[in-house]
Every structure is written in C-alpha cells, then in structure tokens.
Symmetry: C2
Subunit: 329 residues, 2 copies
C-alpha cells in the first residue's frame, strides 16, 4: 500500500489502514511521520479525553464502560492504552486490555495498546502521533489511558482536551499528591470501585482538597470558572457511567463556551512540538554517547572527576552540532 493510498483509506476511517498507520509511527518509520504530515490538516475534530491515575484504579474497565455508552449514543470511539514500562516487570496491563475485548468486533471502536519500547521519549512521541491518526480517521471520541507517573505519561495527557483522574477508595497517595500541589488538579475526578465502604471518605477528602485549591491563580481561564466534578462509578457494572458522560460533555461545553478549547489546544500543540524536538535531541545524544569514542572519553573524564558533568554537557552539545552551545549556561 503506497503512502497516499494509506492516507486516503485512513481518512475514510478504514480500521486496517489505521492499525497499519499506528504501527508505522510506533516503529518510528519515516513513512509514519510522512503519513501524519499528510493527514494532519484533517485533524482537530475529535474530542480527546486523557485518563490518568494509579495502577489498579480500574481505568481500562471504566474506558470499556464509557466506550459502550458512547457507542450507544452513535459515536465512534478510539482508545489508546499506554503501557508503562520498567526494566523489572512487563505486561502488567495485559489483564486490563482483556476487559476491553467486548469491543474488539465493533468496527466503530478502535483499540490500541502501545508499549514503551524503551526508546527515550519514543512512546510519548508515538502516542501523540497515534492520537492524531485516530482523529484524522474520524473517531469522534479518542480516549487516551496512561498511568499517572512519569514524564512520558504527563506529555500524553498534555494532548487532551479534557483530563480525567481516576482514583479508587484507598488512593491516599494520590489524594496527598493533589493536596500538596504535586499533582495538577484535573478537569474531572472519578472515584471508581465506589461500592467500597471507604468511598465517601475519599470523596470528602477530595472535596476538601478542591475547596482549598485556589484555581483563581491558574493561567488557564477555563479552569478558573470550572467546578471540578467528583463522579462515583462502578465500572464493572456500569454504575455512574452516565454521570461521567454528563461530566465530560459538561466540561466540553464549558471550554467551548469560554472559547478555551482553542487556547488549550494551542498550548498542547506547542508542548508537543517542544517534546518531539527535545526527545529527538536526547535520542541523538544517547546514540552519539553510545557509539562515539570521543563521547566515551568525555564520560571517562567525568567518571574520573577531572571534568564536571555540566562542562561535559556543554561539550556534548557542541559536538552534537548545536551552534553556540558554549554560551548556554
């Protein structure tokens, strides 16, 4: 399939073309980047919702239930599930993915799990491109699921129009992180597994955090006038999912009414440009550090405590061809 045939079929919403296209960006193939470039003018129509939160909170099950509700309302859905990676364990989310399996035969639902290949910045870059491909393929709702730790995941959330934090009763650490201002206040908070006896305590704690949080200081106009809803759900039996749909639609209506969707997207696209550029730069330096004897010598000087890391970084940038690198810092 030539590049422009693939683009044409993708824009028509063809599932196989979409799957092929995402594989191309995931594998970091030049055809993948060229494809995104070609279809990019057709993006910007999907409602992109990012789901974050600790592992075990039930994000995948919730997205499964939400997908069912959106399909019943006649909308097409794309799901990107971003797997965290660690050198120590893999495939932790496999069980979660299976929970989405009821949708595998529905042509109106496209589900893709993306794993971190270990390439620095690679997953984040690829996921952002994949979201654009789903958008171009006409998916009306795009759900991006990530685990709420680590910069790669935060970058992906940066791409969303609406950010949902999914917690469960017992999410003490996340609530503390919200309270301490370490974690940003999302647009919507879900307490999933709400049949748990500690649910109402969690809701009260979160409400207390929200009442203390001064969103008036936010630079984002839409945040200042938005009251963050706390939605209780039981994703496994669908309870509360309608309320979540309402909250999501409410947030979308709010940012549209406040003329903030464009502002938010401009900020997101700006961050995306910078993230891609930074990731490429870092990857290139990694490669050079790996393969170039001069870089190995530089590292050895640092290890032997003869050259400090910051001076070595300056030399690294100079050698990577960054003009005037010596004047930075």
């Amino acid at each position: 399939m030539s590049g422009s045939t693939l683009a044409k079929r993708l824009l028509e919403g063809d599932q196989r073309a979409l799957a092929r296209a995402i594989t191309l960006v995931e594998d970091d193939r030049p055809e993948g980047w060229a494809l995104v470039k070609e279809v990019y003018p057709h993006t910007g129509n999907a409602a992109i919702v990012g789901f974050t939160g600790p592992p075990g909170a039930g994000k995948s099950t919730l997205i499964g239930a939400l997908t069912r509700a959106r399909r019943q309302a006649g909308r097409t859905v794309g799901v990107l599930s971003i797997d965290p990676s660690s050198p120590f364990s893999h495939g932790a989310l496999l069980g979660d993915r299976i929970r989405l399996s009821e949708h595998f035969l529905d042509g109106g639902v496209f589900i893709r799990s993306m794993a971190n290949r270990g390439a620095l910045g690679g997953l984040s870059e690829a996921a952002l491109q994949a979201a654009l491909l789903l958008d171009a393929a006409g998916r009306q709702d795009v759900f991006v699921e990530t685990v709420g730790v680590g910069q790669a995941e935060i970058d992906i959330i940066d791409h969303a129009d609406t950010v949902v934090l999914v917690l469960m009763p017992g999410s003490g650490d996340s609530i503390q992180a919200l309270k301490a201002g370490v974690m940003e206040i999302p647009d919507v908070i879900v307490i999933n597994k709400a049949d748990h006896p500690l649910t109402n305590i969690a809701v009260r704690e979160i409400r207390a955090v929200l009442s203390l949080t001064n969103l008036d200081q936010s630079t984002d106009d839409a945040r200042r006038s938005w009251s963050v809803p706390i939605v209780k759900t039981e994703a496994t039996n669908g309870k509360g999912v309608d309320e979540l749909v309402e909250a999501l639609e409410g947030h979308r209506a709010h940012i549209l009414a406040e003329d903030q969707l464009a502002v938010r997207r401009r900020r997101n696209l700006r961050n995306e440009m910078l993230s891609i550029a930074t990731a490429r730069m870092r990857r290139r330096m990694e490669e050079e550090l790996h393969g170039d004897p001069e870089f190995q010598r530089l590292l050895e000087e640092v290890v032997q405590r003869r050259l400090d890391p910051a001076s070595a970084a300056t030399l690294l940038l100079e050698r990577s061809g960054v003009s005037g690198a010596g004047t930075v810092g």
Copy 2:
C-alpha cells in the same frame, strides 16, 4: 568574594560559602557553574542517599531523625529538600522543613530547601549541582529528599548511591505502582508511621510485591544479589531509625563489596550529563519559541493544522542550529 576564594572556603567546609555557592547554582549564575567545575575533582566522597515517596509519608521527619543519629555517630550531614511545584499551590512542604529546624544551629548539619523556579529542567540541574557542592564541602552523608512523581524528581534520585522509598500505611497507590512495575524497586523501603494498625498489612503487601519481582533480569549486578529490606519506623519518636541506619550501611557495604558503586556512579554521571544537555536544549528552544517571530509563525501553522507538530519540531531543531536535524526521524 572571588570565585576561587569561595571555592577554597567551600572545600574547607565553610557553611556560609556553601550557602552562597548553592544560591549561585540555583540562580543559574555562570559563577555557580564555574565553581562546581573548580571543586568537582574533590567530589565522590559523600554517601548520597535519595529519599522518595508520596507526600505525607513523613520523609522530612525521617530525615530529621536520621540526621540526629548520624550526628551522634560523629558524621557531618547535608540535606537537600526538593520542593515540588505546581501552578496551583505552593509551599506545601514548609511544615516539613520546620521539622528539621532542631538542626539549624548545628554546624555539622547543612539543610537546604530548593524550590522549582518553573524553569524547565532547572530544578533538577541545580539540585544535582548542589549535591556536588555538599560533597565537595566534605559532608559525609548527603540526603536528597524528593516527592516521587515527575521526571525532575526521578533525575535527582538518579544521582543517589542508595535509593530509599518512604511509604506509610495507606500507600495503596504506591504499592500498586511497584506491583505494576511502573515504579522502580528501590534499594530500601521504609514504612513510616508504623504505629498505624494497617502497618503489617502494608508490609505483607510489599513483601508479596518483592517476592514476585524478578530482580534477576536487572542489568545492575548489585541489585541481583541484594535483598531489599523493609524497615518500619516511627520518625516522630525515633523508633526504627537505628534499623534504617543499619539498612543504609548494609546497602553501602553491599555495593562496595560487589564493586558496584563505581558502576552505579558511572551510570548516574552519564544520565546527569545527558539531562543537563537536554534541559539546556529544551530551555533554549523555549526561549526561541517565545521570542522569535519565525517560531511564532511556525506554531501558528501548527495551530491552523497546516503543518504537523513533528515537521515543526524538525524545523525548530534546524533553526536552533542543530546540524542535520532534518535527518532525524
């Protein structure tokens, strides 16, 4: 005070010189970088321990208690407390810092809190430099405290010889993150606030995670043969602190015996070089994006969906003077 006078006094362990030097690196002043360069050959002697974990787990109180124990053993201590930042709330750790106040008058203890100034990568860079300054000033133990979320904090932990994860009963999210492989297994795990009735449940859960974690796959030789201790502490009354000291000394003896301290430090210094170089690159692009009309035009093209973010990133890198940027990706 001239640069080399400052360096001389710093190397003699002078507290005021140390405070001044850290301010220079925190403010990103060229004299600060020059100073680190000058004193760098005198670093590498401190035992650097990084403390991470959710807010509220009591890291500062624990470090306070640990500092007392190390002082009683006649060692000099430096503490770097890295404040998380958020556009929505500030100074959440102020209360924690006060808990370290008993040590303010002890010349053998140097405590410094560093706040994220909002400069991208700035805090991480500055904190790493500050740790080197404490090392050069002859502090035998350097404790670096961060909140365990976000890339900047992870970068700082990268600098430690020993990583301690501090949890409390109710740290369900963190335990899930360990279990899912999202959070790396640290060298030592502390359950603080161990007078809580749920402590033993937390210990059992963590023990189960550790028994499932296959450290044999680790590329780090020292990890393979190290059994991660779980230490119960009550930092407010000092219970368990002696056991923590033992665990820290045990880990240090282990990596020295396995000849892994040098391997770990080489990896950390390599990451440090790359992080500083990447942060500078990103900051430079940020500045250019802010001030250069050509960059503003580029962003506008992206916002208008005429130019995709990845192509814009390529142009951004080219304009930033990265030779051959077009060939990357």
